[in-house]
Amino acid sequence: MNKAIVTDIQRASVHDGPGLRTTVFFKGCPLNCVWCHNPESINPNPQIMHYSDKCIGCGKCEDGCFSGAKVVCGKEMTAEEIFAEILQDKPNYANNGGATFSGGEPLLYKEILKELILLCKNNGITTAIETSLFLFDPEILSSVDFVMADFKIWDGEEHKKYTGVNNDIIKENFKHLDTLNVPFVVRTPIIPTINDSIEEIVAIRDFIKDFKNILDYELLPYHPLGVTKQKALGLPETRFIVPENSKMEILRSYANIKAKN
């Protein structure tokens, strides 16, 4: 039976697509963005996270930790098990809510995703996916109701420097995505000193603006949620400055693809 490693399933999410959603965070990502706010979802294997401030010093770590000081991140789950969680909020999805597959990179788990999408469809639950588009699966991407795809940095070299991969394949995948007739949103996380320039946003905007299935181009401000988790994973801490609202507003004015036409 196919299993996926899942870091978390978050219910009642309002920022991972339309309506109220259940977001499934898969573990494992081909990218390694220095600003990642879910660094625990990069490594595809279960990991131990240590929160020393929660330790009560009972000395019984091996018998099981219940204080939250030592947490296993990543649980093996079948599609049925994941779907059982998604199904719990069926009464709350209304017309446009549903399940969002996120990560990490959900497209690492193609077979599970196909099973999940089918289960959702058979139960009248809409689906969405959040992806870096470094991987591509036309069958999966054309079967979900909504796609949220990241375009992180325009320049290929810079992209490789900060995410670990070149973006040529991502650009090609964006073009391919637009042929699938699935509505999608493009998102760029704004990381000060890396991609917070008008030129950067304009370059991405000009690349995506003529896609026929694009709904919106969203800019998301960096937030430092990942730093604590990097520490808990024993990784070097990488912290950026949170962009000011005024800066975000300026950049957003250039990201308005509806106005460009």
Binding site: D8, Q10, R11, A12, S13, V14, H15, P18, G19, L20, I56, G57, C58, K60, G64, F66, S67, G68, A84, E85, Q88, D89, P91, N92, A94, N95, N96, G97
Partner: protein, 738 residues
């Protein structure tokens, strides 16, 4: 030219000043704002005690002291308002009730006046004449809020009063006095109370006249002159216009509050509709003035009013006035207890607008109740649909049929965490321990607790008329003046609400024992008992506490504790409903703690869900804090919908959250969807605090920064700045959980 908007802004500013001043006079109060204004300097009431225990009872005691407190009330006329009158003090302040007693009053009483008074037992009940010492040991054993000495937890039929006016009350009293000559004391007391209200109005008339003389601003002078005419007209006469009806209600509410803090309102949008429509037809009212008047009424007192809903034929009753009421509440945007009745036939645009205001103002209003589940549930008590439909939201967690029901709702509670403690104590000595056995013992204790609760309820109903007759509410109830009887004696319906408190503590306790002791075998029963006894002392005790506390909780979503919560609900409903009651009375189950979670918690030792001794119990039907790492409101909604008691009383869903949603289409769809889906799953009442995280945290740190921040503490709203630090912490914890 002073606009209505400018007047409202000024009135709001005064309200903030009053809130701060009241906190100075009263101390922290974990209570409804009540709409009171600060006491003037040198305010004093000399109560008349007709009982040697230092309290007053019965027709003469209540009527005389009502007159004394009412007569001590100086008029309140703010020339910027259109309505006048405010209340400041209540009779209960003179009957040894510590729970409600403000600081200014505590400073007036001697230490000796508190003899025999505890948080649970005050001098509101005449124990000399109607003792219940035989019930007290068990009441204490199960931490029962007995309802004995409760009052005002019923609802007036305002159409009776609006049809009669204060003069009409006097005429009705005279008429029936002749028919029932043996009820002279009753009619004397009623008459005396009505005259005290009329004198209250007279003082306002005099004050308005005084202000007119010195007022220099022409439009304010004109406004005061209208206020004068209205007050003169309704002094004895029947309210004829929308303005007069609002002012009449305001005065009645002040009197009813002073008497027994009665906060039950009425179906605001239909009861006032004929006055509105008539005035519009006659060209003497416009919508802006109507809104100002409603805003003024809401300012005078945050009574529980219901709006929207359907009639007996399931036809939508939402009307233009319903919209104006929402707009008026938005205009004044203060502590407010409007409840929107939701039914699938109701105007969708109105529902969306109500949700919009919840998101826009983030001031905890309105709240929402489900017509279908409340109405159909209440009918299961053998009540017709016609009557059940009239049962409206008029209290913290409760509903009532105006004019005919005596529900004692929200005054009777059993702390089921304490019931569990007793079951655990019994099982301790037994050789074989299991959750199955514990549940059997829990059921046995619950039966005893219910029997003693019922005995208390019956004692109360049998004697309330001799202790605290509802002299003010009787004026607008059916058969009271007609028969010369108190409503406690002649109600058509005695569907008495009994709420269970501490559901999540008990469900999580059973769940944790089931999982950690029986399934996973990580812990023995002996270790559990040892740690409950020593309150999880030491670092190993703390580890065991965390082991229990990290067990999947109620509202986690299909967890072991969710299953226990349903089992506990089933046994709770079965026990309450099967309790035999005399004279057509019956008990109706619900889940609610009101604002007593801290107090109830203090009575309970450590519990197997990892809760330490004395810590607060869970709130209402809500889960314990940290019930899920994501705090999903949908999981909470599903969990609470699954534990509804099903007989027309509520297990409210209380949510505090900052969904970071704008008051736009998406926000309305999401929050509106959440409300509807809770009701579709069986939910009854939703109290939502949509809060701004930054504002709440700033106010938690320094309440003075946001003296206008309103939170829905439980069924009622209050100014966050007025709450005790302990209670502010509870609200913040609930918020952080979501």
């Amino acid at each position: 030219m002073l606009t209505l908007k400018q007047r409202i802004d000024a009135i709001r500013k005064t309200k903030v000043e009053h809130t701060l001043k009241k906190r100075e006079q009263n101390g922290y109060t974990d209570l409804d704002d009540f709409g009171t204004v600060p006491l003037p300097e040198n305010y004093i009431v000399q109560p008349w005690y007709n009982s040697e225990n230092g309290s007053f009872y019965g027709l003469d005691g209540m009527a005389e002291n009502f007159c004394r407190v009412m007569d001590a009330h100086a008029p309140y006329v703010d020339p910027l308002e259109m309505l006048c009158g405010r209340w400041r003090d209540m009779l209960v302040n003179y009957r040894g009730d510590i729970h409600y007693m403000p600081n200014w009053r505590k400073a007036q009483v001697k230490e000796s006046d508190f003899s025999g008074v505890t948080a649970q037992w005050s001098k509101r009940w005449d124990e000399k004449r109607f003792p219940y010492d035989h019930l007290k040991p068990l009441q204490k054993k199960y931490n029962i809020q007995t309802g004995i000495d409760g009052d005002a937890h019923l609802a007036c039929d305002y159409t009776i009063g609006l049809k009669l006016g204060f003069g009409g009350f006097l005429e009705k009293i005279e008429k029936y006095r002749k028919i029932n000559p043996d009820k002279k004391a009753f009619y004397d007391a009623e008459e005396k109370c009505v005259w005290a209200i009329i004198r209250f109005i007279d003082r306002h008339i005099a004050e308005i006249e005084k202000q007119i003389e010195t007022e220099s601003c022409p439009e304010i002078k004109e406004s005061l002159e209208k206020m004068l005419l209205v007050n003169k007209s309704i002094r004895l006469g029947t309210p004829k216009t929308f303005y007069e009806a609002c002012q009449w209600v305001a005065h009645f509410n002040c009197a009813s509050r002073v008497y027994t803090r009665d906060g039950a309102g009425f179906q605001l949008d239909t009861v006032l509709l004929p006055y509105y429509e008539n005035d519009i037809k006659n060209g003497i009212l416009d919508d802006e003035t109507a809104k100002f008047l409603i805003a003024n009424l809401l300012l005078i007192d945050p009574h529980y009013y219901q709006i929207s809903g359907v009639d007996v034929n399931d036809k939508d009753i939402t009307n233009h006035l319903s919209y104006l009421i929402l707009e008026a509440a938005d205009m004044i945007n203060i502590s407010c207890n409007l409840t929107v009745r939701v039914h699938e036939n109701c105007d969708k645009a109105f529902f969306n607008k109500a949700v919009y205001y919840l998101l826009k103002n983030k001031n905890a209003w309105p709240r929402f109740c489900s017509d279908k589940n409340l109405c159909e549930g209440y009918m299961k008590n053998g009540i017709s649909k016609e009557i059940a439909r009239k049962r409206i939201a008029v209290g913290c967690n409760w509903m009532c049929v105006p004019g005919i029901e005596f529900p004692m709702n929200d005054t009777v509670k059993i702390n089921i965490a304490k019931v569990l403690e007793n079951a655990l104590d019994d099982m301790k000595a037994e050789p074989s321990k299991s959750t199955k056995r514990l549940f059997e013992l829990f059921e046995e204790h619950l039966k005893i607790a219910t029997e003693v609760t019922a005995a208390g309820v019956n004692l109360h109903i049998d004697h309330q008329a001799d202790v605290t007759p509802e002299l003010i509410m009787n004026l607008m109830m059916e058969d009271t003046l007609e028969k010369g009887l108190d409503i406690s004696q002649c109600a058509k319906l005695y569907t008495v609400g009994v709420d269970g408190a501490g559901l999540a503590v008990v469900a999580d306790s059973f769940g944790a024992l089931n999982l950690r002791v029986e399934t996973e075998k990580l812990l023995s029963w002996e270790e559990v008992y040892k740690n409950l006894q020593n309150n999880f002392a030491g670092v190993q005790g703390e580890r065991i506490r965390l082991l229990l506390n990290s067990s999947p909780k109620y509202c986690g979503g299909n967890t072991v504790s969710d299953e226990w919560a349903k089992r506990i609900t089933n046994i709770w409903v079965k026990t309450i409903k099967s309790q035999k009651m005399p004279d057509g009375r019956q008990l109706v189950p619900g889940w609610f703690s009101w604002a007593r979670t801290i107090e109830y918690g203090k009575a309970v030792g450590a519990t197997p869900n990892g809760r330490k001794a004395g810590e607060p119990i869970s709130h209402g039907a809500n889960p314990n804090p940290h019930f899920r790492t994501d705090g999903a409101v949908t999981a909470q909604s599903n969990g609470i919908a699954a534990v509804q008691c099903g007989y027309g009383n509520t297990a409210p869903l209380q949510i505090e959250f900052d969904p970071k949603l704008a008051d736009d289409q998406k926000g309305i769809e999401i929050v509106g969807g959440l409300i509807k889906s809770h009701f579709e799953q069986g939910g009854t009442l939703i109290n939502i605090n949509v809060l701004d995280t930054d504002k709440l945290m700033q106010a938690h740190e320094n309440p003075e920064m946001h003296p206008d921040l309103v939170v829905r503490v439980t069924g009622f709203t209050a100014y966050f700045a007025s709450l005790s630090p302990e209670f502010r912490q509870l609200v913040v914890e609930r918020f952080l959980t979501n």
